[in-house]
């Protein structure tokens, strides 16, 4: 669960993929049939020559400098800033504050541990649940809850869903809000696969 733009992830992949393909095509030029190359190679050569002649005339106001250097440094700087901005917005915006009420006297915040006690404790006490945990994420100004439950092998999932919905109803009543909730019944992974279908009390 993340609030960052997924379209942007795919746009970066697409642009990088097209650049790599263009580089590959340029490297493969001598091995390609003449008829295929002549249609696009001349215009590409002309465009590169025009761009180089255009940037070579660039000058810095405070001193002589090579135009190509200025162009490389500026392009590098722009791309670097864009990539830093991209990388810093990829993280998940987790929050430990599940609720916050503000009034004239101040703000009351409800911590993750309270949501954990209300939402996951009833599930954890069940014999057919291996583990359950709750996480909060800030998405478009709202706190969304992600409740992950790992059931034991052979657990009755519909009964587990009913119990989860009861816990969420309890949370709604306690908080007085209806936060978006995603319940994820996750498959056992790693050593959990080897655990017994029944719990020893």
């Amino acid at each position: 669960m993340t609030s960052s733009s997924r379209i942007l992830n795919r746009a970066v992949l697409l642009v990088a993929g097209l650049l790599a393909l263009a580089g590959g095509l340029l490297a493969a030029r001598p091995f390609l049939p003449e008829g295929f190359v002549t249609t696009w190679w001349r215009p590409v050569q002309r465009a590169i020559a025009d761009a180089l002649s255009a940037v070579s005339s660039w000058q810095l106001p405070w001193g002589a400098s090579d135009g190509a250097r200025i162009a490389a440094a500026s392009a590098g700087l722009v791309i670097a800033v864009a990539m830093i901005a991209f990388l810093t917005t990829r993280r998940r915006r987790r929050t430990r504050t599940m609720l916050a009420f503000a009034d004239g006297t101040g703000t009351t915040s409800v911590d993750e541990t309270i949501a954990d006690a209300v939402l996951t404790d009833p599930l954890r006490r069940r014999g057919d649940v291996l583990s359950s945990r709750i996480k909060g994420y800030r998405i478009r100004g709202r706190t969304a809850l992600h409740l992950s439950v790992v059931p034991r092998s052979g657990a009755d999932l519909s009964a587990l869903l009913a119990e989860t919905e009861r816990a969420v109803a309890g949370w709604d009543a306690l908080s007085g809000t209806r936060a978006p909730v995603v319940v994820h019944f996750a498959d056992r992974a790693g050593f959990d696969r080897l655990r017994s279908p029944t719990r020893a009390w």
Partner: protein
């Protein structure tokens, strides 16, 4: 819940079912960042005499390798493979092995493995078979149940299919399972 919240919740659920492509995008962005910083550093370093000579040497090495057809072919193949892989990652939906639906109050996401377990267990109970003799696979649009019967005991494929379907419907997923019964059984 108003219409805007409902749309947001549906979007939230969809995000749980599709891969974000954050990993490959971060790797690509980090590589672009390193290349961009190298371009900036190089453009300043070239003003220095030692920097200019180092960059000139580097350019000569690259130009020599570029002139050799074996290196050039290898570079073309590598760039082509990377380019196609990135474009495929950009366009394919990246389905996670999960099923999801919007319930009354919550968005429900269930891993395909758990749905397969539930279907197989329901079929084993219905056909009175040990769990080891029934297996199920759940994919995006299909539920395949395979039964290995006990020798000499008839298995009702329609009943088995109904049992698997009911098990999935209890969770709100409406898929018609395909049941196949092995022609050879096991000695009970």
């Amino acid at each position: 819940m108003n219409g805007r919240d409902r749309v947001a919740d549906r979007r939230l659920l969809r995000r749980e079912l599709r891969a974000a492509r954050t990993g490959p995008a971060v790797v690509v962005a980090a590589a672009l960042l390193v290349a961009a910083l190298a371009a900036v550093a190089g453009s300043f370093w070239i003003a220095d005499a030692s920097g200019a000579s180092a960059i000139r040497n580097g350019a000569t090495i690259v130009r020599t390798a570029w002139g050799e057809s074996s290196w050039r072919a290898a570079a073309a193949v590598a760039a082509g493979i990377v380019g196609i892989a990135l474009i495929v990652l950009a366009f394919t939906p990246g389905r996670r092995r999960r099923h999801g639906r919007a319930a009354d109050r919550v968005g429900l996401v269930v891993d395909d493995g758990l749905l397969a377990d539930a279907a197989a267990r329901a079929v084993a109970e219905r056909c009175m078979l040990p769990a080891a003799q029934v297996s199920a696979t759940v994919t995006a649009r299909r539920v395949q149940v395979r039964i290995r019967p006990t020798s000499g005991v008839l298995v009702d494929p329609a009943g088995a299919s109904d049992a698997a379907q009911r098990a999935l419907e209890r969770l709100g997923f409406e898929v018609r399972p395909v049941v196949t019964v092995a022609t050879t059984g096991v000695v009970g």
